[in-house]
């Protein structure tokens, strides 16, 4: 069993620890009423138990772990897409949802997925137009529009 295979179980154990630590100031019982820490404690115990059983099952070979990690090229594509999504979230309050979305679409199609310019720009216009039409004009959702569009 490789260490990387144990990550999910270790993650659960860390989460259980965070729950115990994060609810330290709360009560298990408030008189006869179960308190705010009651259910979290049960879950921390359950989470630790499941994590330990998972570790044991993986160590004994009862649980097969098949990890499909991406190739370098695929990992680059996923990584740059995540970066583009983060940029979309960062720029939305600054420039508005529609311009940020249009930029995201263009960057994704032209720079990351290397598609032909004309269909990429057409897709960018269609998706941005769809969002503007449906969310802003029809549903009147107040999407951020600091630049006025």
């Amino acid at each position: 069993m490789r260490l990387v295979e144990a990550i999910p179980a270790l993650f659960m154990l860390v989460l259980a620890g965070i729950i115990v630590f994060g609810t330290a100031g709360l009560n298990h019982w408030d008189g006869i009423t179960p308190g705010a820490r009651f259910f979290p404690t049960i879950l921390a115990i359950a989470g630790s138990a499941v994590a330990l059983v998972l570790l044991w099952a993986q160590w004994r070979g009862f649980e097969s772990v098949i990890l499909h990690f991406p190739t370098r090229e695929a990992a680059f594509r996923v990584g740059t897409t995540v970066a583009a999504l983060v940029a979309l979230a960062v720029f939305t309050p600054l420039v508005g949802f529609i311009p940020a979305l249009a930029a995201f679409m263009a960057v994704m199609l032209l720079a990351i997925l290397r598609q032909r310019p004309l269909p990429s720009l057409a897709a960018t216009v269609i998706v941005s137009g769809f969002v503007k039409l449906v969310f802003i004009h029809w549903l009147s959702v107040p999407l951020p529009m600091p630049l006025g569009f």
């Binding site: 659960m12 879950l43 999504l85 939305t92 997925l113």
Partner: protein, 500 residues
């Protein structure tokens, strides 16, 4: 009662009401098909459209949005694996798997037919059985709700794949639901003084992240090999075998959906999960569940539509909403100056029976709209995936923002997208996480209320007959998978020894 129902039909079939039922169903379907916006969000967004209408017309239109939105969510579940609400999670798993096999049309057709038949059955039940069924629903109290939710979480472990990993995902979902404030006392909990966390983790960013974003990220790894899904016209129609497989699934799903829908607070998500799990037990090919089982789609969709209609029973007869959507319907009644409660059926009988009749009419509209349009919707999958992927990501994030009007929801969606991607990489199933997140609040609140009722004594779970029955089911749900695993292990060892 027949006279009242006929009077209801006379109201529902007035040209103006017919028009608004059709409008409601159409709008509901469009809003429900937008990622992140389910029927309840759609009803809330479109509620102002009904302000100038007569109360009966307004309620009919809103009810149309409710069940239209339920079906609209099916479109995104099947086509891009992003359910609009938790009740669409099972459809997202099997319906999308069917779409990837080129059977998107069949998945949409069986969803429309199952929803229609179960919907009509449920509305008939609303008309016939409202008073006695509502009183059965009221027998459920905190202990029964807790055990029902626990049973749901344990049953998630049998969804397919590794039971331990499924359970780990479910516990993770329950842990995520702890963040925010304590549901009973309002004390901040696990928020670490961060305003963003104090609001708690909403269902929408989790489902958009874990299903939508994670799925697209995983598919970007092999985007060169992702071909547009071919949807041929002949694949749209259900085969005689599909019919044979799905007939009873629709009946079972509809019955489960109706009963779960009647119980206040249980809702369409528990109904679709229970129906799906039940169907897996009845299925001749349970191994196909999770990989594109048409009977799984039929059961889940029938159940969630029947539940959304069934939730109208406590709403109409007692003034207690059975789901978020019926809560908005109730709010609309109040906004239109109508007092909900037990007196509603007598004082506003024209409205109540008009609403019930409009549900029959609306379900017919949904079927007429959706069967011919299934090929059109499925044809969306012919767009090259390389263009669909960024569009899904972008529109999903707009949907996430629109649901809460808060940019933090977009950030949450991204975080859960990365978590979902990691889960795919480590082979951890994602539906249990989302379903447990939905059940968590019901589970915690009812456990604590049950212990409060019994002054801390766990014996309350044994003393009540329905609760004792549910406890036996919980015990079986724990023991059976363990026994099965031991038996399989012994069998494998015997086979290995035999081979030597």
């Amino acid at each position: 009662m027949i006279d009242q129902l006929l009077l209801g039909f006379a109201t529902a079939l007035e040209p103006q009401n017919l028009l608004f039922i059709l409008l409601g169903v159409l709008l509901g379907q469009i809003v429900g098909a937008l990622p992140g916006l389910g029927p309840s969000a759609g009803m809330a967004l479109l509620l102002p459209l009904t302000f100038g209408l007569e109360p009966v017309t307004a309620v009919m239109m809103l009810a149309g949005i409710m069940y239209g939105g339920q079906y609209g969510g099916t479109l995104t579940s099947v086509l891009i694996a992003v359910p609009g609400e938790a009740s669409g999670v099972m459809t997202a798993v099997d319906g999308n798997a069917m779409a990837r096999q080129g059977r998107a049309g069949a998945a949409l057709s069986i969803s429309a037919i199952g929803s229609f038949l179960a919907g009509i059955g449920a509305v008939t039940a609303v008309a016939l059985l409202a008073p006695p069924l509502a009183s059965f629903g009221l027998k459920f109290n905190a202990p029964e709700y807790f055990l029902l939710a626990l049973l749901g979480v344990l049953a998630i472990g049998s969804l397919g794949g590794s039971p331990i990993k499924s359970l780990a995902a479910a516990v993770l979902g329950l842990m995520i639901a702890l963040i925010g404030v304590d549901p009973l006392t309002g004390t901040p909990r696990l928020s670490f003084d961060q305003p963003l966390l104090m609001k708690g983790i909403d269902f929408i960013p989790v489902v958009i992240g874990v299903f939508g974003i994670a799925e697209v990220l995983a598919s970007l790894e092999r985007i060169e090999s992702v071909k547009p899904i071919r949807t041929r016209l002949r694949d749209m129609w259900l085969t005689s075998n599909d019919w044979a497989v799905c007939r009873l699934s629709i009946v079972r799903g509809g019955v489960i959906g109706l009963f779960v829908g009647i119980m206040p607070g249980a809702g369409a998500s528990i109904a679709s999960l229970l129906a799906y799990l039940t169907e897996r037990k009845f299925s001749r090919s349970p191994e196909t569940f999770g990989k594109g089982a048409i009977d799984g789609v039929a059961a889940a969709e029938s159940a969630n539509n029947a539940a959304s209609h069934g939730a109208a029973i406590p709403m109409l007869s007692l003034g207690i909403p059975g789901s978020a959507s019926t809560a908005i319907l109730l709010a609309a009644l109040i906004l239109h100056g109508i007092r909900p409660g037990p007196q509603l059926m007598t004082q506003e009988s024209a409205l109540v029976w008009g609403l019930i009749a409009s549900m029959f009419v609306g379900n017919v509209f949904l079927l007429i709209l959706n069967l011919p349009l299934a090929p059109v919707f499925a044809a969306l999958l012919r767009i090259p995936y390389v263009y669909l992927a960024p569009s899904i990501l972008g529109i999903s994030l707009v949907g996430a923002y629109a649901a809460t009007l808060d940019i933090s929801t977009v950030w949450m969606s991204l975080v859960f997208g990365l978590l979902g991607y990691a889960m795919i990489k480590f082979g951890i199933p994602r539906p249990p996480l989302v379903l447990a997140l939905v059940l968590a609040s019901l589970m915690e609140t009812s456990l604590r209320q049950a212990l409060l009722l019994s002054f801390g004594s766990p014996m309350i779970f044994l003393e009540r007959p329905i609760s004792a029955l549910l406890l036996c089911a919980v015990a079986l749900a724990i023991v059976l998978p363990v026994l099965t695993a031991i038996r399989q292990r012994r069998f494998a060892e015997r086979m290995k020894r035999g081979a030597r």
